[in-house]
């Protein structure tokens, strides 16, 4: 520096610069001491650690939460599975080791080599999984021959285990390997390729609870890659356990009833909205998804015409048929179009415009009032009142009964169904509403579409006196130690827009369906339990003249419905049964509902008999 330093009035900072320099010198001195300690004093030790990179990180996968039914019966747990991995850096000579390994696990050595190359595992300390879920014999063979399998690592991982095969498959869902797109998403940063994630049902919806949190440990290994000691461990956090609202025996019963049929059964506690059973048939075996599923098997699931992968209770949309008459009757009573004593004459058909609308009973019902019209499901009576109400008023009530909108169940892809209105038709189809169509709507045909779940929720609302509840499938979520962290309380989503007076008239009608000599479901009359309900038979093909005597092809047969609750005076269960192409609600659906109700109420009365 070539500056001449003169005396100046601002020389104040010179002393402070000197002080600062001394402080900085001291800080650097500390750094140098530390360097000396690491490189000179401890150098040999670190050099040793560095040679094979002796400190490695090992993952500890979390244990996924268990799933129970409402009474604590275990439905889903995890089972150990043995996987074989290789760390190619430790496996020298790699070729020889692979040749040895090939003999024990029945995979050609070159296939193994390809797999390692594909995962960029050549000359790496990264373990590459070669075969998962090996059986006991293979496990024993490898354990015994460990000495000539350097770098081969046996690891235990946990696989999902669905204890009751096919049970509540659509509700519980299944796991699958996480996809590449999700791996890039920040939300899934805790996931690694090859991890499993909930793909369907509750396994998907409650993924965040079930998953738990990954842990890991630092370990020191020897030159062969074998662990010498654990340096540091972060425990994995166990996943939370789920308690579903379903009752296992009831669920199994519902599934048994649907065996060899296509359809759905939903049972709800009408006073809380908790789902007691939800079955969709045909179902699939969730355990097939645990082992990697063959292409063939997957195709057969996807291409099956009966759609086993679709949850018909929630995703299926079907015309409700005569079950809809509950709404037509309620609307007419509430709007003052009829009173309980108003009678219409049914001669077996009704001439409207230039068309003839038939009643299912050719002879006709004669003069009939609303309660009996419900009980006997007289079509003409509902044509008469439906036509007086008009489609838009009917739609208003249908929506208030929960049709046309999702119920809010915590499952993906819930269908909304369809409530037709005149503006809807104009917008969607481009033509004006024909008043004749209103007649079809009032008996649940025409454009009407509902899901079995919506019918169950509606039935539950009538049973409990008018409150629509959101269907609940998970009762509570508990941490592994039992602490409840989430409790799903019942939640009303609406009220039926009808008076208690009207509800009672409807209820009388529904009671007579089963308990009067002329009721359409008198076959399921059960002296011990008073059941109320409504049958439905919904046409699949167009409502042209049909000859009942000809046996129709399966896919043209009408669907069978039965919506019920019991006991009639103090309902504890509401059920909706839907049998696809089951033909008659009274014969194909009603007996199933009766069995479900019997099972549930006897179980409730004698809860300890089974244990």
């Amino acid at each position: 520096m070539n500056l001449n330093i003169k005396n100046s009035d601002i020389g104040w900072h010179k002393k402070r610069v000197e002080k600062a320099a001394i402080l900085i010198l001291a800080a650097f001195f500390v750094l140098i001491i530390r360097l000396f300690y690491l490189q000179v004093i401890k150098g040999e030790k670190f050099e040793e650690l560095s040679r094979n990179n002796r400190i490695r990180l090992q993952q500890i996968p979390p244990i996924r939460g268990l799933i129970y039914d409402r009474d604590g019966k275990l439905l889903v747990d995890n089972r150990p599975s043995f996987d074989i991995s290789i760390i190619s850096k430790d496996a020298a000579p790699l070729k020889q080791t692979l040749a040895n390994l090939a003999r024990y696990i029945n995979i050609p050595a070159d296939h193994l080599m390809e797999k390692i190359k594909k995962e960029k595992g050549i000359a790496s300390y990264k373990p590459i999984v070669l075969k998962t879920d090996i059986d006991r014999d293979m496990l024993a063979a490898i354990e015994v021959n460990k000495f000539n399998l350097p770098g081969v690592v046996l690891t235990v991982s946990l696989k999902r285990n669905y204890i009751y095969e096919d049970c509540a498959a659509h509700l519980i869902g299944y796991l699958g390997e996480i996809g590449a797109a999700k791996l890039k998403d920040k939300k899934y940063s805790d996931f690694k390729p090859g991890d499993f994630i909930g793909k369907f049902g509750v396994e998907k919806k409650y993924e965040d609870f079930l998953r738990g949190k990954r842990g890991g440990r630092q370990i020191e290994v020897n030159a062969k890659g074998q662990m010498i000691k654990v340096l540091n461990t972060v425990k994995a956090k166990l996943g939370d356990n789920l308690y579903l609202t379903i009752n296992l025996p009831l669920q199994l019963k519902a599934e048994e009833l649907l065996k060899n049929k296509a359809g759905a059964i939903v049972a709800i506690n009408p006073n809380t909205g908790e789902i007691l059973a939800i079955a969709s048939s045909p179902a699939f075996n969730q355990n097939d998804f645990v082992k990697s599923m063959s292409h063939h098997k997957w195709r057969s699931l996807i291409e099956n015409k009966l759609k086993p992968m679709v949850n018909k209770a929630v995703q299926g949309e079907y015309p409700p048929g005569s079950v809809y008459k509950i709404i037509t009757a309620a609307a007419a009573l509430e709007e003052g179009i009829i009173n309980p004593e108003t009678k219409f004459r049914c001669s077996g058909k009704l001439q409207y415009g230039n068309r003839t609308y038939r009643c299912w009973k050719k002879k006709g019902h004669g003069a009939i009032k609303v309660e009996d019209a419900i009980a006997e499901s007289c079509d003409v009576f509902f044509y008469e009142i439906g036509q007086r109400l008009g489609v838009d008023k009917l739609a208003k009530y249908a929506k208030a009964f929960g049709l046309g909108i999702p119920t809010g169940i915590e499952l993906d892809s819930e269908a909304a169904g369809l409530v037709p209105t005149s503006t809807w038709k104009k917008r969607k189809i481009g033509r004006n509403w024909q008043s004749g169509e209103t007649l079809s709507v009032s008996i649940g045909q025409s454009y009407n579409l509902t899901t079995p779940l919506q019918i169950a929720v509606m039935t539950a609302a009538i049973a409990n006196g008018g409150i629509r509840y959101k269907p609940i499938i998970v009762k509570k979520v508990c941490e592994a130690d039992g602490t409840v962290i989430k409790y799903n309380a019942s939640q009303a989503t609406g009220r039926l827009p009808i008076s208690d007076y009207t509800i009672n008239i409807i209820k009388n009608g529904l009671f007579k369906v089963v308990n009067s000599g002329r009721g359409t479901a008198r076959l399921i009359f059960f002296p011990k339990i008073a059941i109320s309900g409504k049958t439905g038979t919904s046409q699949v093909a167009s409502s042209k003249e049909e000859d009942e005597d000809v046996v129709k092809e399966y896919h043209l047969r009408p669907h069978a419905w039965f919506a019920a609750y019991a006991p009639s005076d103090n309902p504890e269960i509401a059920v909706s049964v839907f049998v696809e192409h089951g033909e008659h609600g009274s014969r194909a659906a009603a007996p199933l509902a009766k069995e479900v109700i019997k099972q549930y109420l006897s179980e409730k009365e004698m809860p300890d008999l089974r244990r």
């Binding site: 500056l3 330093i5 900072h13 402070r16 600062a20 650690l49 540091n232």
Partner: protein, 367 residues
């Protein structure tokens, strides 16, 4: 306007130190990139060379303006850096859960780096006016405190707690350098001792946990704790003489995280050993003392405090970064000046070099 005397008194010595440090940085980056071969994008050292080049150009440009201009423009520079920090919170791109970068297409830059210079300049201006032999009193500390806290909170929100803390360290050190009045100082220390536990009490559990891991990485053995172990192995295994250029195993095997940015010192120490590491430390020490000499010889308060501010910035970054790689300091994303890869970091430190050269050159004006 150009004064030929500027050229005669050019500070070549200082420039040579800077060149040497940049050379070491380029060499180490080369080793890192080549060790990884196919895995790494080769053009990153081309990029780094471009930044060194542009850094020198900026330093030279700054050198031609009289540093008194910084005095006049202090608050405009400060305002600009604040606007950039606000922009990054709005338009910044997300990387690993934080918004720290503004993407300009050809270059993404980190406004928090420039904010350091943006704070040093107005602080120097303020202290040049207010300091006296008695030291600063409360009333004179309000303004610098405000000036510091604004960018602090903006950077902490990104979140980049490391850089935000560095800002406080720089401002605090500058303040202590210009001297705080004794009574004021003791009251401040007492107040800090009382307030900290109160703030602690109001922190949420996860925030406390974050502070704990920040202070002791061993609490996070799967993340930063693991990085520190690998860094220590790299440094330690270099031993006395090092493994040699491009022979660093920890580096080559990718066990070392962030080895071209925050952990680049570990690579140097592994390859050049204790001898090489000491040499680097001495080079930094030489740079710092050279800078102090410039401040020492400067004859106006603004210039002197400005230089000290820049030196303080460089010093803290060197000490925190190297301390971090050796497990002495919390793991924070603070680059090693001149050596770590990164455009914003190189350009910022080169602006600092420009300022020091500038002040150094203009000593003749007082003769």
């Amino acid at each position: 306007m150009f004064d030929r005397r500027l050229l005669y008194s050019f500070d070549w010595g200082f420039l040579i130190i800077v060149f040497t440090l940049c050379f070491v940085g380029g060499l180490t980056l080369y080793s890192v990139v080549e060790a990884e071969g196919f895995l790494f994008n080769r053009n990153i050292y081309i990029k780094q060379l471009i930044w060194y080049g542009s850094g020198f150009v900026i330093a030279i440009i700054i050198f031609f303006f009289n540093y008194k201009l910084f005095d006049k423009l202090a608050y405009i520079i400060y305002g600009l850096s604040i606007i950039l920090l606000i922009c990054v919170l709005i338009f910044g791109k997300h990387v690993a859960g934080a918004r720290r970068w503004i993407d300009l297409g050809f270059f993404s830059f980190q406004p928090s780096e420039f904010a350091k210079i943006g704070l040093i300049i107005p602080l120097a201006k303020h202290y040049a006016k207010t300091s006296d032999s008695e030291g600063l009193t409360f009333s004179k500390l309000v303004k610098p405190l405000t000036l510091t806290l604004l960018p602090f909170f903006l950077i902490a929100r990104q979140p980049d707690l490391g850089t935000a803390m560095l800002l406080v360290l720089i401002a605090g050190s500058m303040t202590i350098f210009v001297k705080i009045e004794k009574k004021t100082f003791s009251v401040l220390v007492a107040a800090g001792a009382v307030i900290s536990p109160i703030i602690w009490f109001f922190l949420k559990d996860y925030q406390k946990l974050r502070v704990f891991t920040f202070l002791s990485p061993e609490r996070d053995p799967l993340g930063t704790g693991y990085h520190i172990i690998q860094s220590k192995i790299a440094i330690g295994s270099g031993m006395l003489a090092g493994k040699g250029f491009m022979e660093g195993k920890q580096n080559a095997l990718l066990f070392l995280p962030e080895h071209h940015t925050d952990f680049i010192f570990s690579v140097i120490a592994e390859e050049w050993g204790f001898i090489g590491s000491i040499a680097i430390l001495f080079l930094f020490l030489l740079l710092i003392f050279w800078g102090f000499n410039i401040a020492y010889s400067c004859r106006d308060s603004f210039g002197a405090i400005l230089c000290v501010g820049v030196i303080i910035m460089i010093t803290w970054q060197v000490v925190v970064n190297i301390g971090m790689t050796m497990g002495l300091m919390p793991v924070v994303g603070i680059p090693l000046p001149f050596i770590s890869y990164g455009g914003s970091s190189v350009l910022t430190v080169m602006i600092g070099v420009g300022i020091l050269l500038n002040v150094s050159m203009r000593g003749f004006m007082y003769e």
